[in-house]
Amino acid sequence: MILIIGGAGQGKLDYVLRKTGYGPDQVAHTPEEAKQKPVFDGLEQWPHLDEGELLAANPEIILICDEVGCGVVPVDPAQRAWREAVGRLCCRLAARAGRVERVFCGLPMTLKGETSWN
């Protein structure tokens, strides 16, 4: 599994599609779709994802997630809990990932994984 993270609008999906040659129709937007498709975009919308189930069904998937924890802690408790849950999910996924990259202004930085991909 590969984890791609970065702020909103940094070019994460573009980067993955360019790198892999996959098209938009090969990108999943729900955990159910993600069992069948090679790329899952918008992971931050699913903070309570059962990653064990997904990775059992699709161990080679490329996961794309917004980094959402780098602002002022929100006043709304639900927003706070969501940010926290997304952050913890990313920590767990990064620990299991063969590769983690962070995209910033369209530029990738490798955080984990030595070998090149695609």
């Binding site: 924890g69 002022v72 408790p77 983690v100 984990k112």
Partner: protein, 173 residues
């Protein structure tokens, strides 16, 4: 040795900061706790951190403000968690917060000079737009200034991303 550890919410920065202290081999470990417990959520956060630290040999010392008046044992390994809480408690204090910036910075310098290792945990809070009320903006600017000042003095600076430490200064661990 002064080490600054930053990161967003839920990034795993605390666990990494603790690992720096335990890996230092220093036996006298002090945890300077800055969070004021005032509701069930803050109580849960404190409890989560307590459980994370359990068995790692930390003595917890409450330090919600007044770090510059705090004495630490010489040569101890000290974990300050965290700078944004300490700065908020100083800045939004009922006494008006005058001089808070200098007090926090002086506190960090004094503890760093006396301790064998000081690890300061801070937060990356300035990457999500700056559409806030003037008081929050001024507090944010102060935090960013403290982060810069401490990073300039630090031997090592890390940003933790998804539990992975990214080295910005000093040796990569």
């Amino acid at each position: 040795m002064l080490i600054l550890v930053s990161g967003g919410s839920g990034s795993g920065k605390s666990e990494f900061a603790e690992s720096l202290v335990t890996a230092s081999g220093r036996k006298n470990r002090i945890y300077l706790a800055t969070m004021r417990v005032w509701d069930a959520e803050s109580a849960r956060r404190v409890e989560r951190h307590r459980q994370m630290r359990a068995g790692k040999g930390f003595a917890t010392v409450e330090c919600p403000a007044g770090l510059e008046r705090r004495d630490v044992p010489e040569g101890a390994a000290v974990l300050l968690e965290d700078l944004s809480n300490l700065w908020a408690n100083e800045y939004f204090s009922p006494e008006g917060g005058e001089g808070g910036f200098d007090r926090v910075l002086a506190g960090v310098e004094q503890v760093a000079a006396r301790a064998g290792l000081l690890v300061v945990v801070t937060n990356e809070l300035c990457s999500d737009g700056m559409d806030y009320d003037p008081a929050t903006l001024a507090w944010l600017e102060g935090l960013a200034g403290l982060n810069r000042a401490i990073a300039a003095k630090a031997d090592q600076v890390y940003e933790v991303v998804c539990g992975i430490p990214v080295a910005w200064k000093g040796e990569r661990v």
